[in-house]
């Protein structure tokens, strides 16, 4: 079952949340971030090239112009490959684990998988981010030494940063699976 809804992130950009229910024990949530805007790209390119042209008029060396073109191209490629995240996916599989995938604009994907044995709970937390207070969804990991302690907090959807309404949808869905998982694992 697939469903798509549109939400907004903390800065006001549009996000799309796609939910796929593969089976009662396996669900996937895909948040797609706002695309690279043409306006900001043009602005950056124009600034760099204007600065290069200014330097050229001072120094009379044509190497500066070609260097500026190179820098712009390499910078754009690097930005697309290492910085710009297109989509963030959360795949939750009952009794196996939770998997988070970030796909970059150049097609690169980076995946983290956390086994269900290590997951304590999935919660929505508040945090101070720059000048705002935002909500974020995070996974709490169990502490191997202390049974009631938490060893690590892993935030989910870090680049997309959706708002509370989107987080509540994801939270409710995941808690259904986690509750089922806890019920079956508690019984021997």
């Amino acid at each position: 079952m697939e469903a798509e809804q549109s939400f907004s992130d903390i800065c006001g950009g549009r996000l799309a949340l796609q939910r796929r229910y593969y089976s009662p024990s396996c669900r996937e949530f895909c948040v797609s971030c706002p695309r690279l805007s043409l306006r900001s790209l043009t602005a950056v390119t124009c600034t760099v090239w204007l600065a290069a042209y200014g330097l050229f008029t001072l120094c009379e060396k044509s190497m500066i112009l070609s260097a500026a073109i190179f820098i712009t191209l390499l910078g754009l490629l690097g930005y697309l490959h290492f910085v710009k995240i297109d989509q963030e996916t959360l795949l939750i599989i009952d009794s196996l684990g939770i998997q988070m995938t970030s796909s970059y604009a150049s097609g690169k994907e980076s995946t983290t998988f956390i086994e269900m044995g290590k997951v304590k709970d999935l919660v929505i937390n508040e945090a101070i981010y720059m000048q705002k207070v935002i909500y974020y969804l995070c996974i709490l990991l169990k502490d191997p030494v202390e049974p009631h302690g938490i060893s690590q907090v892993v935030p989910v959807f870090q680049s997309a940063k959706p708002r509370l309404d989107c987080l509540i949808e994801v939270y409710r869905s995941c808690q259904e699976i986690l509750a089922h998982q806890k019920a079956t694992s508690a019984s021997p």
Partner: protein
């Protein structure tokens, strides 16, 4: 809990038969290791499984049946397969079935002890996870080997989750020795059925490595025994050995070579990686050293170097003389104390004169010395670089001496100043109590003390300037030596083998696993594909020596 069946991708196209593997009750997961094909005799299958269980301490058993329907008219096979559950009893009994021309599988798990209730979970509660056996075996994601005296199954009680799966596959190597094309009583299908991976060169190297390692280990132990003999512990030699970086580097290399060629096998994959990294770095070192050697000894470069060395030393000495003349005048517009200036300046100038005479004395022998030192490059580039660093240290010995003189003079002046300052204030340093106490001085003591204090204070700028200048020169030399040592450390500790593995065979260095959901149809079991995640290159830390 949802029942998870880990199925190897190589068996997905195998003929129908029995599923052989291990059932992990805590995870409610069945790890399928191989498929036994028809015809088979149940007794022989049970014997083989008992043998495997004894050899590998993994609780291998028949988990269920696998049905690959290639033609439409194989209904009788289905009935036959159902009858097998009576012969090989296992709880729960798995029945995997694949239709020809359909991507979706069906999987049933029947529990004999639990009666089927109307609300019993159907096919939705079974998950099929495909895994690549070869990659899981080679990626070494399993925990390190347990102690040999553990009972079967005890060792993995502590390994939770997926580690138990990897451990099972890794320890079942015995099962993978015979496959369906062998002439044994039982025909199995697993990852080796697609072709056993082997390389003649690797096998030959493995056979030859035994005696070679023994020989080299004996040789190296002789060398290290000779190097730790009493002769080298005598005072002048031991002092020189500890100061030269070449000896340090040679000792380090000797230690590394001893470790590589030791006849002990590596206990765990981390140690094996470390050994491999060391071996590759030694090879690279020697290769670069030989390249440097051939470059040096061609076209009479040694002669050119030797001819250039003495003029360079002369030039450095001349520059130092200019510097001292500048200090003896009015450096940077500061006014120095004329008498002290002249004394110190002439003292250092005489030293430079001695040094130049010494260099000129050595000049006929320099070419031969350089030629012999150049031969040492065949031991490795790092040794050549260490020798270069030592040569620089020896050639700039006069700068080091000047620094020591300037520092000592400055240190003495500061000590004197602090002690006389205390006297000026009427205090003194109590050695017994390690603190400053008040003290009553006589008038003449105070008078002389204050006089000396003022003299020292007015002479301070001169000494301080000399100290500053020579410290900066010394820092320059130390920086150059430090850069050379950095390069040597880089060649020593770069984990080239691991980097090469990351590029060519990334599954050997897997950092974890990831899952992908395959095409799904409602009412059918969920199918997932388990793949290895590559280690990120940013995790290779170069600051750790001998990084594994």
């Amino acid at each position: 809990m949802v029942l998870k069946a880990f199925f190897p991708t190589c068996c997905a196209s195998a003929d129908s038969g029995l599923l052989v593997g291990r059932w992990v009750p805590e995870q409610s997961s069945a790890v399928v290791l191989a498929v036994v094909h028809f015809p088979f005799i149940p007794i022989q299958v049970k014997e083989l499984l008992a043998q495997v269980q004894q050899a590998s301490r993994v609780g291998v058993a028949v988990l269920g049946t696998w049905c690959h329907r290639r033609q439409e008219s194989e209904e009788s096979l289905g009935h036959f397969l159902e009858g097998l559950s009576a012969i090989f009893s296992h709880e729960p009994w798995l029945q995997l079935c694949r239709e020809r021309g359909s991507k979706f599988w069906s999987c049933k798990a029947t529990h004999r002890q639990v009666p089927a209730s109307p609300g019993a979970p159907g096919q939705d509660q079974v998950m099929l996870i495909f895994y690549d056996q070869r990659k899981v075996l080679l990626s070494q994601l399993h925990p390190p080997a347990a102690l040999p005296d553990h009972q079967a199954g005890d060792a993995t009680a502590s390994a939770g989750g997926l580690a138990a799966v990897f451990d099972t596959v890794a320890r079942s190597e015995v099962l993978f020795r015979s496959d369906q094309f062998d002439e044994g009583p039982v025909r199995l299908s697993h990852w080796q059925s697609e072709g056993v991976e082997a390389s003649i060169l690797v096998e030959l190297a493995k056979q030859a490595s035994g005696p070679i390692c023994l020989l080299l280990a004996c040789l190296l132990s002789l060398i290290s025994a000779a190097s730790t003999s009493r002769v080298f512990k005598l005072w002048p030699l031991s002092f020189i050995w500890s100061k030269l970086s070449t000896c340090e580097q040679l000792r380090h290399r000797l230690g590394q070579l001893t470790l590589i060629f030791s006849t002990q096998k590596a206990e765990n994959p981390a140690q094996l990686m470390r050994k491999a990294n060391m071996l590759v770095s030694v090879f690279l070192d020697v290769a670069l050293g030989l390249a440097l050697l051939s470059w040096l000894h061609g076209k009479d470069r040694i002669g050119q170097l030797a001819d250039a060395l003495v003029p360079v030393a002369d030039h450095v000495a001349e520059e130092l003389q200019h510097l001292l003349q500048w200090l003896m005048g009015a450096p940077a517009g500061l006014k120095m104390n004329r008498a002290l200036d002249q004394v110190l300046g002439r003292f250092f100038l005489y030293h430079i004169h001695l040094w130049i005479s010494y260099i000129h004395l050595m000049s006929p022998f320099i070419e031969r010395i350089l030629w012999h030192l150049g031969l040492s490059a065949c031991l490795g580039l790092t040794v050549a670089l260490s020798i270069l660093s030592d040569i620089i240290a020896l050639l700039t010995f006069h700068i080091y001496c000047f620094y020591v003189y300037g520092a000592r003079l400055y240190c003495m002046k500061i000590c004197g100043l602090s002690s006389l300052w205390r006297l000026f204030r009427g205090k003194k340093w109590n050695v017994l109590r390690q603190r400053v106490d008040s003290c009553s001085y006589d008038l003449d003591q105070l008078f002389i003390g204050t006089l000396l204090f003022t003299i020292l204070v007015f002479l301070l700028p001169t000494t301080a300037l000399y100290y500053l200048v020579f410290t900066l020169l010394r820092l320059l030399v130390v920086t150059v030596q430090g850069l050379i040592h950095l390069l040597v450390d880089l060649v020593n500790s770069l984990p080239l083998y691991s980097l090469g593995l990351r590029l060519c065979r990334p599954y050997r260095l897997a950092a974890g696993v990831k899952f992908r959901v395959l095409e799904h149809e409602a009412g059918r079991p969920l199918r997932l594909l388990m793949q290895e995640v590559k280690v990120q290159t940013s995790r290779f830390s170069l600051t750790r020596p001998n990084a594994g």
